[in-house]
């Protein structure tokens, strides 16, 4: 079997393209991801009006309030608010806090579904986006704890893809 000599290989490597343009425009997805991250507390791009931002914050606050109220009054009166800080230096306290917040999360999504079942035209797009974003955010935190967690990686990629596809619509 013949082989290329090392000098010839190096020569050929030097002539490779230094730039390759992507086959499709990736900017809409990147710009969308930056705007979405900004809404979650990252560096804020200019151009989003203060009023719109405030309204979004108020809406998010109301959603959290309603979810917490619903969970604590309809599901289990003993459930603490999902934003309760972890008080004890006990490994199980973190798991309990996540379980309580998870209950409130599921209850909030179920409430949106119930509204949708009663009124078919009830708009659910924003709730859907927030629900998927929350999953992605939670799995991201899991990956920070263990970057080799294969299950978390898969869920993260699926959630990310779902959000990207909705952004394209």
């Amino acid at each position: 079997m013949s082989q290329l000599n090392d000098e010839h290989l190096s020569e050929r490597l030097r002539t490779l393209d230094r730039e390759v343009q992507p086959p499709r425009d990736l900017w809409p997805v990147i710009g969308g991801a930056i705007r979405a991250n900004a809404r979650l507390g990252g560096m804020e791009p200019r151009g989003i009006s203060t009023l719109r931002r405030r309204l979004t914050q108020i809406a998010a606050g109301m959603l959290l309030f309603v979810a917490g109220w619903f969970a604590s009054t309809h599901l289990d009166r003993a459930v603490a608010p999902p934003w309760a800080p972890i008080q004890r230096a006990d490994p199980i306290a973190g798991a309990v806090a996540i379980q309580q917040a998870g209950t409130a999360y599921v209850a909030a999504v179920a409430q949106v579904r119930a509204q949708k079942e009663q009124v078919a035209s009830w708009p659910v797009a924003q709730a859907h986006d927030v629900a998927v974003a929350a999953i992605q955010g939670a799995v991201w935190e899991l990956l920070q704890m263990d970057p080799h967690d294969a299950t978390a990686t898969t869920i993260f990629e699926i959630a990310k893809k779902a959000r990207q596809e909705r952004m394209k619509k």
């Binding site: 079997m1 290329l4 290989l9 490779l16 990736l26 970057p147 990686t153």
Partner: protein
Amino acid sequence: MKAALARAQAGDLDAFEMVYRVTVGQVFAFSLRWEGSRGRAEDLVQDIFVRVWRALPSFRGQSTLATWIHAIAVRTAIDRARAQRPAQHHELQFESGILDELAGVWTPPNLDVERAIASLPDRMRQMFVLHAIEGHSMRDIAELTGVAVGTAQSQVFRAREKLRVILGATVHEPVER
């Protein structure tokens, strides 16, 4: 470009789009060779530019913008590789790799070399790309990827050997069976 950069650093997303348009070719070329798959390369490009946006206010111009973005690209790629192993390990086939996905979009001047690089196993290809194409020293690669210098050297050496065989066969002989 300087004006656009300054505006982007101040939070102007439209100006950042200009920065993206000027630098995406370099970032995509690296991502494509690193990932060995068009879809994963596109995901990597997205992650890189989101990180570039976040880090932009800290860019002080000590290096060129291209060098600075490249450093972020490499760190992002390595972080992703760590997060993906061992869940997703891909070894592309020589006959049906990334270049077939890009047929009609990109015709590289050294098609056989690109094909041969794409055919290398992930880890070997990534270390080879960092060293032979992106110009990182073995010590750099060892630090960036968290392996011993000897391991990086061995991977790059084996990659060169494989490429020499593949390219020797394609250049001087009919494809070996």
